[in-house]
């Protein structure tokens, strides 16, 4: 069972527009408090399915999910198998964010960021579970790629959710405009290949220099 195991505080600060310098004690304290709320109310649900890739039609075999845009095609170029996944920290978190907006708007912003960080952590854990499946032994995974990334249109979200039946399997539905509900949800595609895959950088928030980095303060990265 993949679960929520950690909320990265640097990532939380990043979501709130933190650029470095002192963090107010109120913010420090509130992050701890809001993290606790997320851990208490997170109701993690996820679902995934393994598919063969239909190279000829550029789609997942026996489904209506077609690869749109070049980025996804590039990512899956050497892959034979592919996993669609969807995960959410659930409906209660949305409710808590709404409630906190009435109680204390500043904390609501912090809670919202903590929840965003939480769903990333859940996705990491789900990915680990998928990578450890027997059928992927000896294979290499790609990054997680989501509709809306790169040149893959957000509209693909609808097909992905239908193929995975996310509403029935994880309680994730789409609004008319393509927004996932619960809001703190992620869908993604992970490819599996016999060839080692190049991975993206994990991002500044996983660096020890995060809070004091001069590059970040200037709005650039060391990359």
């Amino acid at each position: 069972m993949a679960l929520l195991t950690d909320i990265n505080e640097n990532e939380v600060l990043k979501y709130m527009g933190y650029k470095g310098g002192d963090v107010d004690p109120f913010v420090e304290k509130s992050i701890a408090e809001m993290k606790e709320i997320v851990f208490k109310y997170a109701d993690v649900k996820y679902t995934y399915k393994v598919f063969d890739i239909d190279k000829e039609n550029q789609c997942l075999k026996d489904t209506v999910f077609y690869f749109k845009g070049n980025d996804i095609k590039d990512m899956l170029e050497t892959c034979d198998k592919c996993v669609l996944m969807a995960a959410t920290v659930g409906n209660q978190i949305d409710s808590q964010i709404r409630l906190m907006q009435v109680k204390d708007m500043a904390k609501a912003v912090i809670l919202d960021s903590c929840a965003s960080s939480a769903i990333e952590n859940v996705c990491d854990n789900v990915q680990k579970e998928i990578e450890s499946l027997e059928i992927f032994k000896g294979m290499y995974s790609t990054d997680r790629f989501s509709p809306g990334y790169g040149d893959m249109p957000l509209e693909c979200q609808k097909d992905l959710c239908m193929v995975l039946d996310t509403q029935k399997k994880a309680g994730i539905a789409l609004s008319r405009s393509g927004l996932m509900i619960p809001v703190k949800s992620v869908t993604a595609i992970i490819g599996f290949s016999n060839i080692k895959q190049t991975k993206r950088k994990r991002g500044c928030e996983y660096c020890n220099m995060f809070r004091n980095c001069e590059f970040r303060k200037a709005g650039i990265t060391c990359d």
Partner: protein, 796 residues
């Protein structure tokens, strides 16, 4: 019309198994809409129905699970087309057999408010289209299945009951923790659906028969309505898409269901005609056990059941009577102020919230709908719909998500005849006031007689005794001293002789006396001892809640005094802090101190300093000479990135306290407003992520602007009509997604076309200054601070 009693007269009613599983085996691609096959491959659908009937199914579900207009969008088929065809195929398969056709209805596919953007009324409409087509095509039953949102179910059940004569079955899908994805419990489903008068209810999908069994046992023990179970063929395997239980095991695992009282059985995902056949054979002679259901007084939301088996507090603060600030909120449609009053009471320990929004000059029905929706979007407490207006009561009950109380009816026949049918229709509980056309009787004896009459009338309308609560009426002891004792006597008799729960508006007792709290608490304590279970009080009064916690220890409800001890642990420290706080505030009254308090986000201190400042300065002086310069300074620090978003908002929230104090001070002098001008804020149609807009609202309000918050997913017309009606000169629009910037553009176009003279400021994650210009906005604000700059320019 379907004779539901005939169908249910069978020992066990067998349903069919999966449709989707069968279609996938025949080559349906994942993600394809199976409903279209009714048109393109009707024979295949017919064959599947026929196979289930041959296997022993008494009811087959039409292939219409996703045949609603939302899910069919883009398929080229209409709901009526698919439903008509699908029902006729199923009916044909039933011809000459002992089998019935159910119109199958699954979730709409889009989540309802408050989580999603679909309104309750739109959901009703979508279901209405399906059920009307289904009945016309000859369906015998309407079945809602695989539902996870009780609110969506309520919209569906009302649509079916108000537009057809068909029996209604409902099954919802639960996870192992006994809750649906939206948090609904088995018990809440039972109480709400029994109240709405469904013909059968139960559980389907998600898990296999082993995992569902304990949930089914919980369900049969809390409802007298026939129970349905349609389990999956075990649990799914994500790698090869298979299920882990075979037909024989499935049949064997269904046997215990008869023993726990389940009368209607079938299969869900992964089951085939073989499973149904095995189940029918195994269970054909089984006896369905009758389970005893305890008659209880309960209220609920989808995720919280409140048992009235002891004292439960009804919070009285959502009520404009005698409260100028609340009246102003109603006039300005300031739902957030009302929500704050709800949250406050919930935090103080209220179990139920009374909702009274009646005020001359406002549309009470509309206000009731908005208030109920607002409260249930942030709180998880049952509501008491408080009004004398039958229309407002019905409107409130209709949109209320859960089982509510109606406050109130009285002994007048005309009132009971009008209100009780509404209470019955929506499955609510009701408060009966012991008075009638002659007024409030002087003696306990006469009040008791009226209580009896109200109970008899309620029973006649089919309302359960457990859902009738009697209010023996609190009269002001300073005016009618002999009446307090009569009220207490009446409470005791109603409790002991009629066995009903009782309600009292407690606070009224002490009106006109000094140190009211002593009288209120003393009366409350005596009343609880007489059997009062539902006091309507102000839970923010510490002494009142202390008395209730104490009573629960003495009555034995608070086992081992745990809650009492929990309440008072640390009480002393709190007192010390308050003293320090007030000392500190008393010493400080200068500009410098308020700047410190606001910049550090110290709300209580800001409030106290403002009170002090009001002794020397006028309201406008405080706003213009003190608060705004302080906020500007903080805003500058934010722009220079010395502080970041949470700190900016925190300061704004603290100065909000100062504004509340100032508003109240102005209201008490009889003037109306401190507004520096009105601003409309709206998250545009299709977009529901509104946290950014709410941040802007807090900041604008703290600069003294009156924000008309239209909320999220706001239709174009609503922005335009409000701007014109309220003569608003600045409209702020937010959109989070590329897909919704289009609605933003449409809203701006409509504003321009209307000819109304106003400026538009836009913001949101995907916008840029250039993009904003392109869609015709006057200002682009990258954050809340820049929205204030725009407001200053437009409104001053």
């Amino acid at each position: 019309m379907t004779d539901i009693n005939k169908i249910l007269s069978k020992n066990i009613v067998f349903l069919d198994g999966a449709m989707g599983t069968m279609l996938q085996a025949k080559g349906l691609k994942l993600g394809e809409r199976p409903e279209a096959l009714c048109i393109t491959a009707p024979d295949e659908i017919y064959d599947i129905h026929k196979m289930y009937i041959d296997a022993g199914s008494n009811i087959v579900y039409s292939n219409t699970f996703g045949a609603n207009r939302h899910k069919l969008e883009g398929t080229g088929y209409s709901t009526e087309e698919i439903v008509t065809k699908a029902v006729s195929i199923a009916k044909k398969a039933c011809e000459g057999e002992d089998a019935y056709t159910a119109l199958d209805i699954g979730p709409i596919g889009e989540l309802l408010e408050p989580a999603g953007a679909l309104t309750f009324e739109e959901a009703y409409d979508i279901f209405k289209e399906m059920v009307i087509a289904g009945e016309k095509a000859g369906a015998d039953i309407v079945v809602f299945e695989t539902m996870t949102d009780l609110y969506e179910v309520k919209a569906g059940v009302l649509a079916a009951k108000e537009n057809t004569n068909l029996p209604v079955f409902v099954t919802m899908t639960f996870e192992e923790n006994g809750r649906t994805f939206t948090g609904c419990t088995v018990e809440s489903m039972a109480y709400v659906l029994e109240g709405l008068g469904v013909d059968a209810m139960g559980i389907n999908c998600s898990m296999g028969p082993e995992e569902i069994l304990p949930l089914a046992q919980r369900l049969t023990s809390c409802t007298n309505v026939p129970v349905i179970v349609k389990a999956n063929a075990g649990l799914p395997n994500p790698v090869d898409n298979s299920y882990d239980i075979d037909a024989n095991d499935f049949a064997r695992l269904m046997v215990p269901y008869a023993e726990c009282g389940v009368k209607i059985m079938g299969g869900c995902c992964g089951t085939t005609p073989d499973y149904i056949k095995a189940m029918c054979e195994k269970l054909k002679n089984a006896e369905v056990k009758k389970v005893n259901v305890e008659a209880k007084s309960v209220l609920c939301t989808p995720s919280l059941v409140v048992d009235i088996d002891g004292v439960r507090v009804i919070g009285e603060r959502i009520n404009p009577t005698g409260k100028k600030r609340f009246q102003q909120a109603l006039k300005e449609h300031d739902l957030e102020y009302i929500a704050e009053r709800g949250v406050e009471q919930a935090d103080a320990g209220a179990d139920i919230l009374d909702v009274n929004v009646g005020l001359p000059g406002i549309d009470e029905k509309e206000m009731m709908i908005s208030t109920v929706k607002m409260l249930q979007s942030v709180l998880n407490l049952p509501l008491q719909i408080d009004s004398s207006n039958a229309e407002a009561i019905e409107a409130g009950l209709r949109v209320c998500n859960g089982k509510a109380i109606v406050n109130s009816v009285n002994g007048e026949q005309e009132v009971m005849d009008k209100i009780l049918p509404i209470v019955k229709k929506y499955g609510a509980a009701v408060v009966g006031l012991t008075m009638d056309s002659r007024g409030i009787p002087k003696t306990a004896e006469e009040r008791f007689e009226i209580a009896k009459r109200i109970l008899e009338n309620a029973l006649k309308h089919g309302i359960r005794k457990e859902d009738v609560f009697i209010d023996c009426l609190t009269l002001t002891v300073s005016a009618q001293q002999d009446q307090a004792v009569e009220t207490l006597k009446a409470v005791r008799r109603v409790k002991e002789e009629l066995g009903l729960n009782t309600v009292l508006g407690v606070s009224n007792i002490s009106f006109g006396l000094p140190e009211r709290e002593f009288i209120t608490v003393n009366f409350l304590t005596q009343a609880m001892a007489m059997g009062l279970t539902l006091p309507i009080v102000n839970p923010n009064q510490t002494a009142v809640m202390d008395a209730i916690y104490s009573y629960k220890v003495l009555s034995g409800e608070d086992k081992n005094s745990e809650k009492y001890i929990g309440r008072f642990a640390g009480r002393k420290t709190e007192t010390v802090i308050t003293t320090n706080d007030s000392q500190c505030a008393a010493e400080s009254n200068s500009f410098g101190d308020i700047e410190y308090a606001v910049s550090k986000g110290l709300k209580e201190e800001t409030r106290k300093i403002t009170l002090k400042l009001l002794e020397e300065k006028t309201e406008m002086e405080i706003i213009n000479d003190i608060l705004i310069p302080v906020l500007d300074k903080i805003g500058d620090r934010y722009e220079r990135q010395e502080i970041f978003l949470p700190q900016l908002i925190n300061s704004a929230s603290a100065s909000c306290e100062a504004f509340e104090v100032i508003k109240k001070s102005i209201l008490s002098k009889g003037s109306s407003s401190v507004s520096k001008g009105k601003v409309i804020l709206a998250t545009v149609k299709g977009d529901i992520h509104d946290i950014g807009k709410n941040i802007v609202k807090v900041i604008l309000e703290n600069y003294g602007y009156q924000v008309i918050d239209l909320g999220k997913d706001v239709p174009v017309e609503k922005v335009v009509t409000t701007a014109i009606k309220e003569d608003v000169k600045l409209v702020g629009l937010s959109a989070l997604m590329t897909t919704t910037v289009e609605s933003m553009k449409k809203t701006i176009e409509a504003l321009r076309e209307s000819g109304h003279d106003c400026k538009v400021v836009v913001g949101g994650a995907v916008l840029t200054a250039e993009y904003a210009k392109q869609i015709g906005a006057d200002y682009y604000a990258k954050d809340a601070k820049q929205t204030v700059d725009a407001a200053k320019e437009v409104l001053g």
